[in-house]
């Protein structure tokens, strides 16, 4: 039961960030297709956003270990 709780803590916590990552990725590809000359700057900004969203998902991972 405890293991199930830990798995749920990570699994449910990853749903929100997954949607966030999907939005960031798709919008970046869209912007790159529209303005290929901005690709470098867009990529940098995308990685910053990715890093920030990822942290939320990983908080669930760490909580699953700690709890």
């Amino acid at each position: 039961m405890e293991n199930l709780g830990n798995a749920l803590a990570f699994g449910l916590g990853a749903i929100g960030p997954a949607f966030g990552l999907a939005i960031v990725g798709s919008k970046t590809i869209e912007s790159m297709a529209r303005q290929p000359e901005m690709a470098g700057r867009l990529q940098t900004t995308m990685f910053i956003a990715l890093g920030m969203i990822e942290a939320i998902a990983l908080l669930g991972f760490v909580l699953a270990f700690v709890l």
């Binding site: 990685f47 990715l50 760490v62």
Partner: protein
């Protein structure tokens, strides 16, 4: 098959932080050499030898190992520092370059089977995160003074009755920064390593106790090994990049603290 969970647990235990000098538990792990710190030292030695060899013969047109080192340095200097902070970012290249190559070498070394990623422990990543926190706040305070820096947390033009709330939110977000920075790197490296470990253990156990299921499980485990290994190599480079670029963003924010 009943003993499988205990066997998996026993094998996974080898991926946790274990002191090399005997003893077990928290009291022994205090300041002793652990398996993770051992590989951290190996990575640092490799990093030093790589750059000493690369910089021994500096030529106008580099070749071989010098070329590789120059490409990496150029990437951090122009791809991270100048891209995020503008021309003044070159001043912070030594700090950001140190972080990038330290994290990169540790992450990559973790992908060679007996080795463990030195960045896969909370101690290493949080130490770097706290250093980053102190450095970027120090840069901000040095630029516009302590009270100016505190005041810059509230954007100008905020109504007075809202400013205390904004200040509180900004303060919390600043203190969350080193926390997320440390957690991100640690969790990525540790989780990746555990994931690889689990598939290896699966393959080993199912070969050891050969049965009909093994014919399906073993090739799948090997295939996942290959796919995940490639993925982990990508993650290793990406995490070093993200750690560095977020540091650059924080320093950039501190540099322009008063002006927006």
């Amino acid at each position: 098959m009943e003993e499988m969970p205990t066997k998996i647990e026993h094998l996974l235990h080898e991926l946790t932080v274990l002191p090399l000098s005997g003893g077990h538990g928290a009291e022994a792990a205090g300041f002793s050499l652990t398996n993770y710190t051992f590989w951290l030292i190996v990575a640092v030695v490799l990093l030093l030898t790589f750059f000493i060899v690369a910089s021994r013969k500096v030529k106008l047109v580099p070749s071989g190992i010098g070329n590789l080192a120059e490409a990496g340095v150029d990437f951090v200097r122009n791809g991270v520092c100048v891209d995020v902070m503008g021309p003044e970012g070159k001043k912070y290249f030594p700090f950001l370059g140190t972080i990038f190559f330290f994290v990169l070498f540790n992450n990559l070394l973790g992908n060679i089977p007996p080795a463990l990623p030195g960045t896969g422990t909370v101690g290493t990543t949080f130490t770097w995160a706290i250093i980053v926190f102190l450095v970027y706040n120090g840069i901000g305070i040095k630029k516009i003074g302590f009270f100016g820096y505190i005041k810059s947390l509230i954007p100008s033009g905020t109504p007075w009755w809202l400013s205390w709330l904004i200040f509180l939110i900004e303060l919390i977000s600043h203190f969350l920064r080193p926390f997320t920075l440390g957690i991100r790197l640690f969790a990525n490296m540790y989780a990746g390593h555990i994931m690889l470990g689990v598939f290896t253990i699966f393959a080993a156990i199912f070969i050891e106790q050969f049965s009909a299921i093994s014919i399906a499980v073993v090739p799948l485990s090997f295939l996942m090994q290959v796919i995940l290994r490639v993925f982990e190599l990508m993650v290793a480079v990406l995490q070093a990049y993200i750690f560095t670029i977020l540091t650059a963003v924080y320093i950039d924010g501190a540099l322009h603290a008063g002006s927006h």
